[in-house]
Symmetry: C2
Subunit: 342 residues, 2 copies
């Protein structure tokens, strides 16, 4: 039995979408139990299959505090002890659940992962792994790590991220030999900041990964690598930039098609279905959420505005990580070598 702790209160459409996601997820997998943390009345109202409660496949865990998107992360985790997020993280820590899924405040979830679930021994700083769709290339997406868990990063962190993300890519994305690259401002080994130059050397000498060198942010959507390693500040800037440019440009194009003359409008109608179909490539709702890697259990962040489908895939992702024993496999790498500082 795989048990998922689901924070049902922190997202933009909570708890409705979380409850829907839980019911849909349980329909697919028999051997799964979901602990729903949040306001019991609101949650109960959304459960259209009361059978799931009777069978204890959904268990409502009553909480009466909510961490909002505006809360200061670490403070919120320390003070709002009875929030849905902290209680869900505690359930994982104490072994009542195997993994944590939340659409709530990203910073708070990172803090909950770090301070409540706890980091794996030997890992200095866990990182946030994002999955980003590609427009070309062999694979539909690539991993960016760290996409924002750490604002300040050392080369040893980048080195550790490469090992950690490699385990995820092998176990969950089923890529036997993931291509690992370093995000840098030039392709040559000599390019970059002092941090990226130092990290290049560490990655280049790491035999457990298939390091293919530097990649520039210009080529990311062409899928030049399966795993792109970045410091959290730059990774976050690039992640949000991809989102912003893609959203901005598609919105601008939509405006052209609706605000222009009659012929353009007709043209717009004719291309609509092809557009819709092809641009599904950018739809991330099936890709799962961002994952805090380097902590003792799967901690998954779905988008703040995630709907039931995206949350359901986040639950599946958490499940796959539990089944694939990702945290244990990561831990194994840091038990046996000198990478860590513990």
């Amino acid at each position: 039995m795989i048990r998922i702790a689901l924070d049902a209160m922190g997202g933009d459409f909570s708890p409705q979408e979380e409850v829907k996601a839980a019911m849909a997820a349980l329909q697919k997998y028999e051997d799964m139990q979901i602990l729903l943390f949040g306001d019991p009345a609101q949650i109960k109202e959304q459960i259209s299959k009361p059978q799931l409660l009777k069978e204890e496949r959904i268990i409502i865990m009553p909480t009466d505090e909510i961490i909002t998107m505006e809360d200061e992360p670490v403070k919120a985790i320390r003070r709002k002890k009875n929030s849905s997020m902290v209680r869900a993280a505690k359930a994982v820590k104490e072994g009542q659940a195997d993994a944590l899924v939340s659409s709530g405040n990203t910073g708070a979830l990172l803090a909950a992962g770090l301070l409540v679930v706890g980091r794996i021994k030997g890992i200095d700083r866990p990182g946030l792994m994002a999955i980003i769709p590609t427009l070309k290339g062999n694979r539909p997406n690539f991993i960016l790590m760290d996409s924002g868990a750490n604002a300040d990063t050392k080369a040893v962190n980048l080195h550790q991220f490469s090992i950690i993300a490699n385990v995820y890519a092998q176990q969950i994305l089923e890529i036997p030999q993931p291509r690992v690259a370093l995000l840098n401002n030039g392709s040559e080994a000599s390019k970059g900041s002092s941090l990226s130059k130092e990290a290049f050397q560490l990655l280049n000498h790491e035999e457990r990964i298939h390091f293919i060198g530097n990649v520039e942010s210009k080529t990311l959507l062409d899928g030049p690598a399966d795993i792109v390693i970045a410091d959290g500040f730059t990774g976050n800037a690039v992640l949000k930039n991809i989102e912003g440019v893609a959203t901005g440009l598609l919105g601008y194009i939509k405006d052209i098609l609706t605000e222009s003359g009659l012929l353009t409008k007709i043209g717009g109608l004719l291309i609509k279905s092809a557009f819709k179909k092809k641009l599904q490539i950018l739809d991330t709702s099936k890709a799962g959420g961002a994952v805090l890697l380097g902590v003792k259990a799967p901690v998954i962040k779905t988008h703040g505005s995630a709907k039931a489908e995206a949350i359901m895939y986040g639950i599946f992702q958490a499940r796959a990580m539990v089944e694939g024993r990702v945290a244990e496999r990561i831990s194994h790498h840091f038990d046996q070598n000198s990478l860590g500082n513990d």
Copy 2:
């Protein structure tokens, strides 16, 4: 008389596009002279108005070396003394010309600016200012500085960039009170790396600029600020990312329109002209080039694949900077205060 030193050899379409650009630029301005550095035979072949040579409005400065895109920047500047780029930079240094324009190797041009033209006293590190088009907002573009001159940056550099870019925005873009923002991974003052937190405080206390706080990379194309200050590593990643995502997405959309069924193709034809017209917003050829700011004279980098129009606007930009006495005005700020470390 304003005299521009034009490196006629370093770009993808040199010297043809440089010569065309020079002839077009001279047609607009009577009181301008252009020194064309490069292979005399190749340059002469492209000059369709020999009158300009007779009148000494174009002067060919023969050089026999070229810095290629593959050359290691600092090494190339030190060794290829008779390259078009180094000679053009020397002409500026020695007072034969007022400004330098090149489509060549960016790193080499930055090195030429720093090592040959020389930095302004009091400025620790010059920065590369890029002009990026917006999709929304009050203005058609914004300034990003540093977009990649420095891989490693200190808070004092970011502070200096804000003063420097502010002079440019006031003098050249004619924005009386430019909105200056710091690129960060959160909008609150408390967010970010140790570098960005320190820089936030410096910018927030700088009375000579109108600091509006942090901006995230997600909103950049909405034009939230006139000047966005970034460290060169992140700035470069964001700049190249904007370019990559926009190019990738537009290419992908074009493929949808041409590879899909007949109706979509017809639709594609109908929207073509509206698209073409509206997407001119992204055309940067009239915006001028990137500018190395913080050196003693205007040094302008047009795109490696720049055509005559873009280079001509780069020449106009150089001219405007000379007329607006931008370098002197920047220098003035650093003479009178304790910002610099000199």
